[in-house]
């Protein structure tokens, strides 16, 4: 039954569930009890009535034996008149063995129903009447019959009375049950409702320091204990987490400050080292130039070759120091943000490149009005480096082709510069942006290998990403986001 009833009341409050259960139980019990009582009355009432009547009739019948034996109907009638005491009886007849009516009693002041004489002994209910027939025995011999007709209105009115009482009791008991159960259900429902309300408020306000007050040592009390314990644990864990987060934050701030300090020191160190390296280098360069110019006739060919090499090395070192200084400057320079037209910027850069190599033919495809947000000076350096690389690595192609445009990568706008130059092996893609890392011989393509490192720093300062794709001999594509 439970799996039928339970879903029907699934959304009913626990308070009403308890009231309903108590009401249903008490009402059902009462209905059953009243029903059993009424059923007993309905079944046993007529039987009892018949038995009472039979006892009466037996006595009366016995008292008429002499009257019958000595054929004295008036005496029999006198005896029968004792039935007056039982107002339900309206007719009593005595028949002799030959079937003749011997004596009759009729309820005074009443019309009577005169049933046909019945030879059937025992009682039966006919309509609203109880008909009872008994033999009259004298000395073990049947000398006649007595037939009594009694109305049963009394019995029915008694039953109606019982029914009325049962109804009144049922209603009164239901009212009492309702009052009692709606009062007593609080013993169970209140702690649960209190718990539920508190749980809800905790989940809304996230205040885990609240505790549910306990009202008993029953299962609900245990539940509240467990709930409070859980809250305690959550509260403690929260505290621990908060403490951890706070200390973590503190540590991050500390570390960041440390890192910034270290970085600054490192930059300053790099700068001063680079700067300080220049002076001795300049003196090596100056004196080797003096040797070249003033003592060239005193040197043989090997000596001249060595001096040339010293000079080339010092110039290369000077270039390296310049590059290092540039790289550190880019990290330190103040940044501003504004709208930049990359297409125009690219065109200017390409024009400069064309001017420096007027003999080269190249196909330039620039998507018009590619806009970006960023520092125009830094972006120009970055774009110049990327386009310069493209220009440099397409120098050996029959017709170099350089493209600038935008594309969509995973829902994000990315800029790209594509060329059909010598490309690179994807296995070394990670090394492209490391300072002083080169994938090609310096003799073939000049450069210190600082360019893409600078580009990566600039893009990083714009909080963007840069990556490259390439195939050896077929060109490379550089993507970046800003």
């Amino acid at each position: 039954m439970r799996h039928i009833v339970a879903p029907m009341f699934a959304s009913v409050s626990i308070r009403w569930k308890l009231i309903l259960i108590a009401m249903a139980t008490s009402t059902l019990a009462l209905v059953l009890a009243c029903g059993a009582f009424l059923a007993y009355e309905i079944i046993m009432g007529p039987k009892e009535m018949a038995m009472r009547l039979e006892t009466l009739v037996k006595v009366v019948g016995f008292n008429t034996t002499a009257a019958i034996a000595f054929n004295d109907p008036s005496s029999a009638e006198q005896t029968l008149s004792a039935l007056k005491a039982s107002p339900n009886i309206y007719t009593a007849d005595i028949y002799t063995n030959d079937g003749k009516l011997f004596a009759r009693y009729s309820r005074p002041g009443d019309y009577v129903y005169l049933p046909k004489k019945s030879n059937k002994e025992g009682y039966r209910f006919v309509g609203n009447h109880l008909e009872l027939t008994r033999p009259i025995i004298l000395d073990n011999e049947k000398i006649g019959m007595i037939c009594v007709y009694s109305d049963v209105a009394d019995m029915y009115s008694k039953l109606k009375g019982y029914l009325a009482i049962a109804s009144v009791v049922l209603i009164a008991a239901s009212v009492v049950a309702f009052i009692l159960s709606s009062t007593l259900q609080r013993i169970i429902s209140e702690p649960i409702l209190h718990l539920s309300k508190t749980a809800m408020s905790i989940s809304v306000h996230k205040d885990y320091s609240v505790r549910v007050s306990k009202r008993g040592e029953d299962e609900v009390g245990e539940l509240i204990d467990s709930f409070n314990e859980m809250l305690e644990q959550i509260h403690e864990r929260d505290e621990t987490l908060n403490e951890l987060a706070r200390s973590l934050e503190r540590r991050v701030v500390e570390r960041t400050a440390q890192l910034e300090d270290t970085n600054r020191e490192l930059e300053a160190f790099t700068y001063s080292v680079s700067h300080d390296l220049r002076a001795p280098l300049r003196s090596i360069d100056g004196f080797s130039l003096a040797i070249q110019e003033d003592y060239t006739d005193k040197l043989d060919d090997a000596g001249k070759d060595y001096i040339d090499r010293v000079r080339a090395a010092t110039q290369r070192m000077a270039q390296l120091i310049d590059d290092l200084l540039r790289l550190s400057r880019i990290t330190r320079v103040e940044m501003r943000r504004e709208s930049v037209n990359l297409s125009e910027m690219a065109r200017e850069i390409i024009d400069e490149l064309k001017n420096s190599n007027p003999e080269r033919e190249a196909e330039i495809v620039i998507q018009p009005d590619v806009m970006a947000e960023g520092d125009p000076d830094l972006l120009k350096i970055a774009l110049g480096n990327v386009l310069g690389n493209a220009w440099k690595f397409t120098s050996k192609a029959s017709i170099g082709r350089i493209e600038l445009g935008t594309t969509d990568i995973d829902g994000e706008q990315a800029y790209f510069v594509r060329d059909n130059g010598i490309g690179f092996d994807m296995a070394y893609a990670g090394k492209l942006f490391t300072p002083f890392q080169r994938l090609h011989a310096e003799t073939e393509y000049p450069g210190t290998g600082i360019g893409l490192a600078i580009v990566k720093r600039i893009i990083a300062r714009h909080e963007g990403r840069i990556w490259a794709e390439g195939v050896v001999g077929q060109g490379a594509t550089f993507y970046f986001t800003l």
Binding site: A66, A67, A69, N71, D72, E77, Y111, L114, K116, D139
Partner: protein, 177 residues
């Protein structure tokens, strides 16, 4: 089914009773009296000492000229009262009928009634008479005509003297002396 007023019923009953019980001739009168003798036995208790054994019969004595003819024999034949058979004895001599439980004294004995009643006064015998004044003179029961019907009167003092217990039902029907 018929519904009648109570008064009419009573009249009907009365008419019915009167006609059905009125003696039509002498023979039927003694048929009725024979039946009454038998029924008396049913409403009277004798002391145990009056019976010789548990199944010894109830003896009905007829003293003097027998007015019943075969009626009494026919009536008691195959009948039993309280488990006892009934036998009829007839005699002109009172002594022959000593030990009878019921002694019917015929109207032929009217002249020596005093002697008979004196003699039987210490017997445990239900004396039944058929002459006027029988009960008044010490007999226990006497047949009379009441309301044109055969009735009887009972001398309760005589019954007590004889050690007989007469049912209240029977007393109710009788004229008590």
């Amino acid at each position: 089914m018929e519904v009648l007023m109570r008064g009419k019923i009573l009249i009907n009953i009365l008419i019915m009773v009167v006609f059905s019980t009125m003696p039509a001739d002498a023979a039927t009168e003694y048929d009725v009296k024979a039946a009454f003798l038998l029924n008396f036995a049913k409403f009277v208790d004798w002391p145990d000492s009056s019976f010789t054994g548990g199944d010894s019969p109830v003896v009905i004595g007829v003293l003097g000229d027998d007015p019943f003819g075969s009626a009494l024999d026919n009536t008691v034949r195959n009948e039993k009262v309280k488990g006892r058979k009934l036998v009829v004895k007839r005699s002109k001599q009172l002594n022959d009928l000593k030990g009878s439980h019921i002694l019917f004294v015929s109207s032929s004995e009217q002249s020596r009634l005093g002697a008979i009643l004196r003699e039987t006064s210490d017997w445990h015998t239900l004396t039944v008479g058929d002459v006027q004044g029988f009960a008044n003179r010490g007999g226990v029961i006497n047949f009379i005509i009441r309301d044109k019907k055969i009735g009887f009167e009972i001398n309760t003092a005589a019954a007590n003297r004889a050690g007989l217990k007469i049912s209240s039902q029977l007393l109710k029907l009788a004229k008590i002396i």
